[in-house]
Amino acid sequence: MNLTIILAVTVVLAVVSFFITRLNKKAGGFLTVIASLFAFVGLFLLKGSIGGEFSIFYFSFKITMVGWYFALIMVLAYSMTSFFNPFWMDKMMYPGSYNFMYLLSMAGTIGMFFAKDFITLFIFWETVVWSSTFIIQLGKSRKASYVYYVVSAIGSMATLFAIMMAYSVSGTFVISEAFAGLSGGAAIAVFFTFILSGLAKIGIFPFHVWLPAAHGNAPHTFSPVLSGGLVKMGAFIAFLSVTAFPAYEIFSGMFKVMGTPFPIYFLMALGAISIIVGTLMAIKQEDAKKLLAYSSVANGGYILIGILMLDQVGFAGGMMHLVNHAVASAAAFLAIAAVAYRTGTTKMSEMGGMIHRMPVTYIVYLVAIISMAGIPPMGGFVSKWLIFQGLADKGMLFLAAAAFFGSIGSFMYVFRPLSAVFLGQTFTRDLKKKEVGFFMMLPMLILTALSILAGVFPNTILRVITEIQASVGISPVTLAENTIVTVNGYLDAFRVFIVFGFGFTIAFVIFIVRRKSKKVELMDTYTSAEFIHTRELLHYSSKFYAPFERLYDKAPDTMKLYKKIAVKIGELGNLTESLFYGHKPEKTVFWVMITGIFVVIIGGVV
């Protein structure tokens, strides 16, 4: 398969879908399915040509293992989510543009991961940013789209600065050579500015503000892509900032924390903070999508810590967590979208008992959150396990503490939508609702299967990661047939799964052989002699963790920081306006004279 064809076809189909949608909305939506599946299959077949270099137009590309890995994850999220597109077309204000932007941003991500030079990377990157900005605005909040753009822009402008600064030293934009020759203060400046776009995209504190806004308010069909896909673009930048930019080598002379140079450790600490912030905030949310968005913040922290470790185990964990989180998060968002498709809301307090109406969606969501919480036998467990092992190996106590906190906290928040949306009493409004159709179910089931497979046969994914590790020159994680071996112990995910099945079977058998139980309605519960006949009232879903939330409800809001900065810029603008502009010439005369005096004095005349 040829990357040129993939890119060309997706871009062309993007344009075509724009016009087709004008004729027939549904057809346009189906076209995005076709296009993204095509891209996925094409990318999958691309593995054979890894190492190839070529250029299209003026862009130059190099097919690398890591690029392939990232692109595959990304397009997986796109293609799975695209199945939902045809069903949401009627609700879109601009269906044509949506489809166009959807495919354009997908092409952008593909191009970005295979870019050989930074300018190509940046062009594709920004294309993704603006096209997704225009998609998000179609959702529930205009402000969200704005916040998304601003935070992205902070990142990408910083990265552009870094690229340019590196270019001024090395004279090349080629990713593998661009950072050569940097040292000292310039190296630190480039490192921090370069990774900024990564941090912004992953949603690392304090750039995490866009995730809840954008994920929570984007069209339901785009949130899975945002969380499952676009966030991973940031991980790619993080990856580059320790590999293409040899951070460990350049900073090797610096002060070290637990064997890690301080700048890198600092970023890891930011990752740890985002785990904590993401977890705490996710626990608080009342909207299922916002909750999942904050969980993405927390998971982004894991990914960042893992990738920045750049070692045998933790790095593998971080890279694998990419897949696991992408799959699980996309599945969870899709499940919520499916529910929203039927109920029209994502507020947890406005739903209940959907399990009785949409059991498949429930299973999908259950598996997704098990994976996100890192519970075996799903994929998320393996990657978190690797990250823990890596941290334990290095003795990074505080990072580990944050990681544990996030891991256990995730039980808390993932359970909330499960309980509030799916369990409990079905609301009267929803009693007649049906499960979504097969076409929408299909991607969810695929993702669920992938989640389980990743947990049972993690080595399939880890083998790709070992190749990536080899390509960046670190020793790959040791893999036996089904076993992952680390210094501190080993994990045989398959056997864990089998034993789990064994235990489950015993329990099941005991359950089955006992007498059959009598079915009773959910309204038929013990309520301490109170009689409540309203389904909605009997369902406990809002303020789920109220006593816990109370402990930190006075915590500062990061958004306020941004608002403050915006106010300050506005004040500068105000000042400019009132100082220099008006309808009286005297103002300008005054400034001309002042500037004149100033200039002459500065110029050294007087």
Binding site: P376, L418, L491
Partner: protein, 306 residues
Amino acid sequence: MNVMSFVYGFLVLLGVFVFQTTLTGLNRKVTARLQKRYGARWYQQFLDIFKALRKDSTSHGWVFDFGVIMALGGIMATVIFIPVAGFEAFPGLDNIFVISYLLAVGMLGMAMSAAGSGNPWASIGVARALTNMLAYDVPLMIVIFTLIFAFDSSSLSEIAALQQGMGILGWNAFRMPLGGIVAVIALLGMLGKKPFDSFIAPTEIASGPMVEYGGKHLGFMFILHEFMTFIEVSIILSLFFGGGATIWEYMLKYAVLYTFMNIISGVMPRFKIDQAVKYFYRVPLAMAIVQGLVVIFTGLGVTLWF
């Protein structure tokens, strides 16, 4: 992995069930005596369980059933991985992370089933249980992390074995005293013993979920509880009290530790859930971090002190 492993696993399950249920029965007696009551017979617990399993039950829908099965299945799988006095049904899989996360499957199943009952009290119980877990687990995990760092192993049996043969001072509880204290406090939380039993809270919310369960469901819950207790006590036993070189030593130590927990619990009042969180994040967390820093930076406690 062969058939024998499964047979062994099954035997472990049976043994653990008998042992722990007996112990629970005995401890009911101990608690009663503490409270100046006579108490039930030691085998009452067995009677309760088998009676419940025989009776009719009501179900609140498939997730109510599924949750119970998933909970018991997950917990039983976890028990199989627990090394008892060096014996493992599946050697090498006693990874501490695997065990503690597999435990979560059981908990999740239980929570799901409870919430699936549609009883709002159940949801409150779940919320508290999860909050409680967040409270005790972070300090405990930091201590465990310290152990892994110190011994370069995350295997329960290996860590237990490393403490043996040096007498009582070889136990991690004494080599790392702060960590030991944290572990014991955390164990109280894990077991849901006072002062950290607000999620069970017999007089407040227990009437909620518990009354929804009857018959085999309730029986499952009983069995589940026994297994869970065993897992939790065993983890702390292996990590901090040297496990046991022989099965008898192990059982003895186990009984002492468990009874000790019960005795503490018997004389304690109860924390509100937010108080529990606050408490765990003040004292044990600080102790755990201090312990961790000491071990990581000084190496003190990795070897014997004396």
